[in-house]
Symmetry: C2
Subunit: 210 residues, 2 copies
């Protein structure tokens, strides 16, 4: 049996898998039992051959003329994507975006539990919005272990992002999910995912001019 953890899956393929998941979850909710890559293709505007190739990384194969079993495909995608596993995370920076992400129940549906926040503002430290405590950022090294968190979500202003990322790495986080507009440099053994929503905004503005 192939071990999925050792198969390198290209980032664009992984990025498309949640689209397929959203699509098949919708079909499952509608009571649909089988779906072809052509039907998924029509809904998502992705080539059917691309979909079949992406799904082959999961060792999921459709049946000729019938397609994929919807429930099996949904389960296979959820397992592969890790959305069923529980991951504890801390929020670095509880400003408007950070507080929002902490409150976003969507993230916990995808396996990400933000269990605490860290900030420098005295008016925030010591509070617990939605039952999640906010600590001073200097407490990160000792709190991280008791919180059993291995992911840090970064939503601090860009001026502080480099320093906060460094603190997270030194404190032993395994992954940084960076929402700040500052591009964080890679560190050995630490996964970095930059999600600069402002970069997407820039691309959208630029394309609107055409």
């Amino acid at each position: 049996m192939e071990n999925i953890a050792t198969t390198y899956v290209p980032e664009p393929a992984i990025s498309r898998l949640p689209w397929y998941l959203a699509c098949v979850s919708r079909l499952r909710a509608q009571g649909v039992e089988y779906v072809s890559s052509t039907a998924i293709s029509n809904q998502l505007n992705v080539d059917a051959s691309q979909i079949a190739k992406d799904l082959s990384y999961l060792n999921i194969k459709g049946k000729t003329r019938i397609g994929y079993e919807v429930k099996e495909l949904e389960q296979g995608l959820l397992d592969f994507l890790g959305f069923h596993r529980e991951h504890n995370a801390v929020m670095m920076g509880v400003g408007s975006l950070g507080a929002a992400l902490m409150a976003d129940s969507g993230l916990s549906r995808y396996g990400l539990h933000i269990v605490a926040g860290f900030d420098v503002k005295p008016e925030l430290v010591g509070t617990a919005p939605g039952g999640k405590p906010i600590y001073h950022i200097s407490e990160l090294p000792q709190r991280l272990r008791e919180l059993d968190a291995e992911i840090a979500v970064i939503a601090v202003p860009f001026e502080s992002a480099a320093e906060v990322a460094e603190l997270c790495v030194q404190s032993g986080v395994k992954a940084l999910w960076n929402f700040s507009p500052f591009h964080i440099k890679a560190s050995p053994g630490v996964t970095i995912q930059n999600t600069s929503i402002y970069a997407h905004l820039a691309v959208m503005y630029n394309r609107m001019l055409k």
Copy 2:
């Protein structure tokens, strides 16, 4: 003089420009007057030659031995990226993520003003959190013009994303910024920017296994 609006700039290049902006804004705040592409490269982990190439799309050139003038570079990036222009937008779906994005003051610093929200929930419609009114989603076609909005930010559940996107397009929005995990199909004349934060989560989980 080159017209920047007619020069096609590849998406990866545009996506990197906000990093450079964050970097030079930080330097400007620190009182630095000149910066070389090598110095930016060291901070961001992007090749200096790549930085020089990306900046050449803006018609900004550094001086030999001195580099770029920090203030001029910041201004050039802000102008090119459109972060200085005002763009009115509506929020489709005022759940946890939608409400969060509406409250995120970071977006208005980048020129995006979310002026109203649209939802189907009776307990939300008619309220005005932070002074921004929430209307029933069926009111979009007539409200869009009075709000002078050309961008719709989509944060509805994936089950509704396709329908809501269709309504937005029919109502005349010029761009859709989609945060739902559903991949929205392109429509002629409408810019679509998919920002599926859950796809980034999937990539991060996958890379953490290595």
